[in-house]
Symmetry: C2
Subunit: 470 residues, 2 copies
């Protein structure tokens, strides 16, 4: 592809994307293709002749689009959202176009410095405590996902608890971590990856609102210490995946500080709510925690992958992850005057991911995001009121933000049938979850293009499927 | 930003990228900015008013570009390359524009199925053994980097060696891994992250060509078994970072099979050479290994991040990484009819990264990549001949592909001064490395836009700096 072709085809692809996003509502939300259908449309063997870009665009329409579950569809109420925005898409394009690797400061100073600044800007916009700012012992970094942030938090905690011995000797058998059954699966995955083992991830009891019980955490720690175990890590969640439950971070932080245990707060989805001052209660207790993460790639319209991960003291993180072979030594790095982000993450290489955050904050600003968040929260509360007024349904958890969870009073079978029928309609898409043994539907009102009418339609759909249950 | 703005600004950014890449040669290769310069050009606090996209583009020119080390510069001879190509940039743009998350097959079947097909296409193009194809017990996945592939290989090996007990009980204290001092830093990082500890990463002696000595591996395994340790993982390298040394994979594979040890081959850079049939010797022994990775985001012009990771038997990998909370259950997944790639990687979420590989293979095809690789290897051999003919220099390692390493006979101080002066000139960029205690310059001829004249100029630069050494 020549530069001239690139210009021409680039324009065509820009147009194709705008057309796709502006017209996404016409597609079924979830793909209806059978397993293998997409692959069967494509040649089994790689091409031996080049093809014009038009053929690729045509296949996007004919094969790829039918094989997508449209996360940008205004009636996508499943999981948590993965919003994009136009400036953010351009940011990712710039990243691809520049093609630099920011593994060290020296391998592209702008990649590191813009990222550090964006983390400071975001800390300010979210109202986070100063301890996370880059001009002190703490600081932030973009991770690919909250899963990776959690893993890094576990590694930093492991490092601090063993004073670095873990790097050399491996994981001691007596380390213990804590979370609730409501925490994201990435906590268990991280504990496994880090070699701690799920037997050593102790599940702390939650209350009726699915929030961790501080008394249960205290009791578990005491019992484990008495048994000769070494509590080293607690993962609290600010907005769980199943129900947006909020663990009581201030109380948990007091316990963790007293006990010398690393406290990580996973606010992957809900943390972005703090862009609205009136929702800044989601930050409660962060001035006492060791690490924190939230994802602009969920509710903020900055495309995946963009998780923001902050630590109050970067020494443990760097101790866990720094390795310096000769070919990575640089004068600036040796002088200690710069940040080498390779030591803040699992991979070595890294893309210039802060551009999409920078572009979004400059071109769109936070006002439309605040307005979107307020709409989502407002519509969710309206929806919750409609659900509460319908005696076929029961709301199963508090709904402080943009997620409402409810079950059919006819039991799990009725709930599951309702969700399956609604999703099969193609006109909206929901996630089923289970808590304390009961099945329910999650309706997350988080799409950038979602309007009130889509929420109304989703509710009408769920009502009508409930009406036709066998 | 409205859809109309996006179209207009998207065209402008496409043009900006083409201008940047076509004109990149005019910049100093490595950034000359001082620490903090980029950040100091930007507002300390986030904007309160939105700005036109033109202002962002202007700042790319004024602030970002001077802060870049230009990895796409034709005189970038440092590290290994991180090539891009025009179709690949468009592929990344399409990924950002679609904004889907392929964590499960059901969350966008096309994301999974195109990726699986691309891994099969690449296995065919590289001439890899059938054991890595997706229609058997093995298969492949796109990882963000070779570091993550290595970590996943370690986790799969840990899983197999303990028959899954590691997930529950944590890492037993007696697991031992093996590699050479020449292996990439990500091996040590992965062993640390996995909780095995660097004391349990045994460094196997290498020969004069920096390749692992099979007899030394055998002896180390025997000694460790006698001491009650449990050898579980060997990482061989096909093309080390320092010198492109090739560990003797066929011999190592025979040992590992006999001993029941997982053998991973890290061919991050060199593996792509197998696109040329005459260079397919880089694949030697792969029909007997457990896992393999190579990076189209290095030598193939598919932008970062795109590491291809294959396993011969996916059961251990999935055993290590599968976790299934209720909200991730899907009918297709339960039926076992589909691949859920979240279970093949550390993170949960994932971008539609196969698009950039698909676009590149369709629009450019492998012919220009083969031609580029042949040029690079040819010019590297020419350069090596020039170096060998200059009695001030000594070549320190074999140079079978696109990297030649040499030292100044005046000693480390002379070598280091030569590299520093050459890099400071801004007209080329090299990496210094050290092996067996001796400092040398690495000249990797791997850039997509590099021509023979750039190699000649680089050689002239190194000669002239050597002439002016104090």
């Amino acid at each position: 592809m020549t530069p001239e072709d690139f210009r021409k085809q680039g324009y065509a692809l820009i147009d194709w994307i705008a057309d796709y996003l502006e017209g996404v509502e016409r597609f079924p939300v979830a793909s209806t293709t059978a397993p293998g259908w997409v692959r069967d449309q494509l040649p089994a063997h790689p091409p031996t002749e080049t093809e014009p870009f038009d053929a690729v665009l045509a296949d996007l329409d004919r094969i790829v689009v039918p094989g997508l579950t449209h996360w940008q569809h205004p009636s996508f109420f499943a999981y948590f959202p993965a919003n994009t925005s136009y400036p953010s898409i351009l940011g990712d394009l710039a990243t691809a176009g520049l093609g630099v690797n920011g593994m060290s400061w020296a391998t592209s100073p702008a990649c590191t410095e813009v990222e550090t600044l964006m983390l400071d800007w975001m800390a300010e916009l979210l109202g986070l405590p100063d301890r996370f700012r880059s001009d002190g012992p703490g600081g932030g970094v973009i991770q690919g996902s909250a899963s990776e942030a959690t893993l890094c938090a576990i590694l930093a905690a492991r490092q601090r608890a063993t004073q670095g011995a873990v790097n050399v000797a491996g994981v001691p058998g007596n380390l213990v971590a804590y979370t609730t059954s409501q925490a994201h699966s990435s906590i268990e995955k991280g504990v496994r990856v880090a070699g701690v083992g799920t037997d050593n991830l102790h599940v702390v009891a939650h209350d009726a609102a699915f929030a961790m019980r501080p008394d249960a955490l205290e009791a578990a720690i005491a019992e484990d210490r008495a048994a000769g175990l070494r509590p080293f890590f607690v993962c609290a969640t600010a907005g769980t995946t199943s129900t947006t439950a909020f663990d009581p971070v201030p109380e948990l932080a007091a316990i963790c500080r007293r006990e010398g245990i690393w406290l990580h707060v996973d606010a992957a989805h809900a943390g972005i709510a703090a862009l609205c001052p009136e929702l800044r209660w989601v930050n409660a207790g962060l001035d006492q925690v060791d690490s924190y993460c939230t994802n602009p790639h969920k509710w903020m319209g900055v495309n995946f992958d963009c998780d923001l991960f902050w630590v109050a003291d970067r020494a443990a993180l760097l101790g866990a992850l720094s390795i310096l072979p000769e070919y990575l030594r640089t004068a600036a790095g040796e002088a200690g005057a710069v940040i080498d982000y390779r030591d803040w993450q699992i991979p070595l290489g890294r893309r210039f991911r802060s551009l999409k955050l920078w572009f979004t904050l400059r071109c769109d600003g936070v006002a439309p995001i605040q307005s979107m968040i307020r709409d989502h929260v407002g519509w969710t509360q309206e929806l919750a009121a409609w659900v509460a007024a319908d005696d076929r349904f029961e709301i199963v958890a508090p709904h402080p933000l943009d997620l409402v969870c409810f079950a059919h009073r006819g039991g799990d079978e009725a709930t599951d049938a309702m969700i399956a029928a609604a999703n099969a309609s193609g006109s909206a898409f929901f996630t089923r979850s289970v808590a304390d043994g009961r099945s329910f539907v999650r309706v997350c009102v988080g799409g950038r293009m979602t309007e009130r009418r889509h929420v109304e339609a989703a509710w009408a759909l769920l009502q009508s499927t409930a009406n036709t249950l066998p």
